[in-house]
């Protein structure tokens, strides 16, 4: 049985700090993406779930189909994509972020088909998240130092509350147009990046064979280095289900823009 959790990531090797370069376009293979819709369970969902899964399957065309208790699981290793639909949640997860630009049309169409067939009218929560491990060719100490003055007040101004600071985590909550935002930023050592990636669940589901497919191991090797971790979560609550497409069309580019802005602020290219 698959255990479903949440998480994201990015990846490549270009001078993305030059103005106008989209970070995720270069670092898609160092990011993980998530899209989740939560809704209230209804009695009729039990009867409609199979039809909803079939509708989703017909549009997503994944390679593998699985069935769990109260949910259907679709795995598409070639696209490093996982989807599941259940009586309380619709969920997509990707290893990499390119899927959210290359296959966004398929994802939207399949999600809409599943939700409409299930008869969901109101979303408790709809959210899109990207988590990226960005190699900046700097040490953890350097990234940490640049965070001061970039995201935080100068380091010396915090000396009385924290003493010599050697690590940090910044979390910013806000609203951007119709989207609630939660942005987390942290310098990470190789060990920290590895640990934070390895707690992410479900990712083995995007492998063709969890023992033979090296995709996950190679991804882990790429991100296990001093890096800047940027995690952006965009969401709405209590939304009409007809807004699913509009949400994704707004949230996906906005997530990438925010990541660009976060990196630009650190690198001084704002």
């Amino acid at each position: 049985m698959w255990v479903i959790c949440f998480g994201f990531s990015l990846g490549s090797t270009k001078a993305f700090w030059a103005k106008g370069i989209a970070v995720l376009a270069d670092y898609s293979n160092r990011a993980v993406g998530y899209f989740a819709v939560d809704y209230d369970h209804q009695f009729q969902f039990a009867h409609k779930l199979a039809d909803a899964a079939q509708a989703l399957y017909a549009r997503l065309k994944p390679v593998h189909l699985g069935v769990g208790p109260d949910l259907y699981i679709m795995r598409d290793p070639p696209r490093r994509l996982l989807a599941h639909i259940g009586s309380k949640k619709l969920y997509f997860q990707t290893l990499g972020s390119y899927q959210w630009t290359e296959f966004l049309t398929d994802i939207i169409a399949s999600a809409k088909a599943g939700i409409e067939t299930l008869g969901v009218r109101l979303f408790q929560r709809i959210g899109f998240r990207i988590s990226a491990f960005l190699p900046l060719k700097m040490t953890h100490a350097e990234i940490c130092d640049l965070a001061f003055g970039g995201y935080l007040v100068p380091k010396q101004d915090l000396a009385d509350v924290a003493g010599p600071i050697d690590d940090l985590l910044v979390q910013l909550y806000g609203t951007r147009r119709s989207l609630k935002t939660r942005l987390s930023i942290a310098p990470q050592t190789a060990a920290q990046a590895s640990a934070s990636f390895l707690v992410d669940g479900n990712l083995e589901a995007v492998l063709e064979h969890k023992w033979l497919d090296p995709g996950l191991r190679e991804f882990h090797e790429r991100i296990a280095a001093d890096s800047l971790w940027v995690d952006i979560d965009l969401y709405q609550t209590e939304k009409d289900s007809s807004l699913l497409e509009a949400f994704l069309e707004e949230a996906v580019p906005e997530a990438m823009r925010i990541i660009d802005a976060a990196v630009a602020r650190l690198m001084g290219t704002v």
Binding site: W17, K137, T139, L146, M267
Partner: protein
């Protein structure tokens, strides 16, 4: 220096066991020192040590010490480029802000923080191998403020010239010798109008590469 390990060879020879102690075990002290550089890279070094036969069990004590201080040094080209862009942006704002003080008799008071900021940035970039051209441009700009040169910054075209040069330092990556030439041209035109100083003739001996 990147990862480097050393072994204290002198301690490899086992001492002679004292005759009064039949259970004495020879002790081999091997000290390994790992010195991490400011640009950490993985490396491995092997060292063969011959432990001579002895009547009693030999004790080999390996002490591994990691010297991590240099690894915390803030000196990678990317880090220093980010520092350059940030500080130059701050200096540019200071120069642009001179417009509100242009008629003050004591304008030098307002240009002093600019000169100090440039000097501070020069100091920060002093050892940066990839920022030699940046240092040259900064020195040229600094010199335009010296020896009464600050007077010219009452004029809008002077301020605009400095801002142009600073924007170049913010947006170009990397800073090339051509950028030094362009900055010189801009500042030279500026100097021709009034000046007491000549850009590029400073008292430092950094050589752009």
């Amino acid at each position: 220096m990147l990862n480097r390990s050393t072994t204290t060879e002198s301690s490899l020879r086992p001492p002679s066991p004292p005759k009064a102690s039949p259970t004495y075990a020879p002790v081999y002290n091997v000290e390994i020192r790992h010195e991490l550089g400011c640009r950490p890279e993985d490396s491995m070094e092997t060292r063969d040590i011959v432990v001579r036969p002895s009547e009693y069990p030999s004790l080999v004590r390996v002490m591994s010490r990691t010297v991590a201080g240099p690894a915390q040094k803030l000196g990678s080209p990317e880090y220093l480029a980010a520092i350059r862009r940030r500080r130059v942006a701050a200096i540019r704002e200071l120069v642009a802000d001179l417009v509100s003080h242009a008629t003050r008799e004591d304008l030098a008071v307002c240009t002093f923080p600019i000169v100090e900021s440039i000097r501070s940035l020069l100091d920060k970039l002093d050892d940066a191998e990839a920022e030699g051209n940046t240092r040259e441009i900064l020195r040229q700009l600094r010199d335009t403020f010296l020896d009464g040169g600050w007077h010219q910054y009452r004029r809008p075209d002077a301020r605009e010239a400095a801002v142009t040069v600073l924007r170049q330092l913010e947006s170009r990556e990397p800073i090339e010798p051509d950028d030094v030439t362009r900055a010189f041209d801009v500042l030279w035109k500026l100097q021709k109008h009034s000046l007491a100083t000549f850009p590029g003739i400073g008292d430092e001996d950094e050589i752009p590469h």
